[in-house]
Subunit: 322 residues, 2 copies
């Protein structure tokens, strides 16, 4: 199978056809017509075998996750995903692998009405890079820099299940089979909070997706907004599985230091809390109040008794010590 | 050096700042404001060590070429490049390598007023993926599908010098030092034909960039346009260095089967030839008439005596036999 047949078979004929895509796969570049008056949001993430997933990982999950992490960035801006391109480096053109990869990719793409409009396939070590464009009304982007003292801090969904899955996979935690299935789903098929991001776009004062761990990612918001924050560790939303093991794994530690759940963390002026209640049904997930923005720089995590809690690991860094 | 310092040092503070970039590197995604009434062109290309360049290749050339191949796709659509994102997989964060890579990248980006607005750096095998967005007036894209019988076929610049450079590097051709320098420049620092693409946008009936070899790439135009073509091998524009070695390397063979020069191949109705003369000064390169589109399918290459010439290699395919 040559490069052109490969593209045609697995990528060119799948997925939906958006009305604003004038030219899709098959020319030198795609042509799209952004809706008038809208701004555009661009993001990219690359996943490399050995670093982000095992080379023998389920290709359906790789396809899903490669798009999900980009959708999560678009969600964190409050934008609506629209078009994406795909770069795929493959050691060989294995039809079975490609079929499963494409099924994971397109299932998620179609869920969010997002169209693959171009890409590049090359022979090389297994790696996937996706670039995603979203659209939104001009001036409504949720930035990291908008948090103000007095704002409340929220997270979507629950944190820490993907970390439990990693611990189980590494053999440092022994889960029952139903527990394992539940948390593996969070790690391998993260659900980007696109609906929540869109609903929060005219409302939140700042937003970020939790991809490096809440401690690290909230830290980016604090730095960009030139503020500090206090979190209450007991308020961190945890799943029932997580709570069952919480004592054995150091409380909220894993949930604070791991980002693979791809939840959103956002801030909101208290005066807008009632508006947030109104948009809640559109978010398709819980929103939990976990702490407050303060003028004093730094991130303080306290427990219910008022004690200061210091996380051991502060987020993932690909080039730490490099 | 951690991931964030690395991004800041080599990528966030270089290059120009376009007025239509609202949010650049440093948030979850970039925000851009496309000019009203314009359509947008999206393309991506990935370069992998071992497949597209040697792992010890000059990083300045890798930075240049990774962007140049994308600019060439935008040029082939007749669009004006605007914003790009960069995915970089690196075995280690080597400051010297990064400095040279960034200098090659930004020199070319600034030349075309194209801004880096986002990216991802990961630890892994050396690989570079760039996604580039261009803009142009609605409906003016140069597609592969517009060639009609009777149209003339043109190429920009000269073909084959990059192939000479590859032959020299592989030891199958022995060039003098000045010759080597001249053709290596074409291979390592290709100059995308952005000005020519923009000038031809309201004029040419079809266009493609020659990245897989003229034989293969013109073949894509013929397939998309459902036409055939006849080329005259002696009309293929060759550099003085190429002509010097032409007899020893099988005439225009290398020039037809290799695409690393990144020239444009376009078609034009004969009635518009005088308009083409008028826009010629804006193209910043020669345009050479090499053959004609015909109704009969297939690509026929004839020599001046009327004999049929059949190229041995028909373009590069990453997964041939895969």
């Amino acid at each position: 199978m040559n490069e052109f047949e490969l593209i045609r078979t697995y990528f060119a004929c799948q997925g939906l056809a958006r009305e604003d895509v004038i030219v899709s796969i098959g020319d030198d570049a795609a042509v799209v017509a952004p809706p008038p008056g809208m701004q555009q949001v661009l993001t990219t993430d690359m996943l490399v075998a050995g670093s982000h997933f095992f080379a023998d990982a389920d290709p359906r999950s790789i396809g899903h996750k490669a798009l999900a992490v980009n959708l999560s960035d678009i969600a964190a801006m409050g934008a609506t995903p629209a078009w994406f391109t795909l770069d795929l480096s493959l050691p060989s053109a294995d039809p079975e692998w490609l079929r499963a990869f494409a099924s994971g990719l397109f299932e998620l793409a179609n869920q969010y009405r997002t169209q693959l409009v171009g890409g590049d396939t090359v022979r090389g070590p297994l790696a996937v890079a996706i670039q995603l464009c979203g659209v939104m009304p001009a001036g409504e982007a949720l930035l990291r820099s908008g948090a103000r003292p007095g704002d409340r801090i929220y997270v979507t969904g629950t944190l820490g299940d993907a970390a439990l899955a990693l611990s189980h996979r590494r053999g440092t935690l022994d889960l029952t089979e139903p527990e394992r299935l539940q948390v593996m789903q969070r790690l391998d098929y993260p659900q980007p909070r696109v609906a929540a991001g869109e609903a929060l776009r005219a409302l939140a004062s700042s937003c970020i997706d939790v991809s490096d761990g809440l401690y690290a990612d909230l830290g980016h918001v604090l730095a960009a907004s030139k503020v500090g924050a206090q979190l209450v560790s007991e308020k961190i939303p945890l799943s029932s599985v997580y709570r069952r093991y919480s004592d054995r794994i150091g409380g909220a530690e894993l949930a604070l230091s791991n980002g693979d759940d791809y939840e959103l963390c956002f801030t909101l002026p208290p005066a807008r809390a009632s508006e947030m209640q109104r948009i809640l049904p559109r978010c398709e997930c819980d929103l939990t109040y976990i702490g407050d923005i303060e003028a004093q720089p730094g991130l303080r995590i306290v427990d219910a008794s008022g004690g200061i809690y210091e996380p051991k690991v502060q987020g993932y860094d690909h080039f730490a010590g490099g």
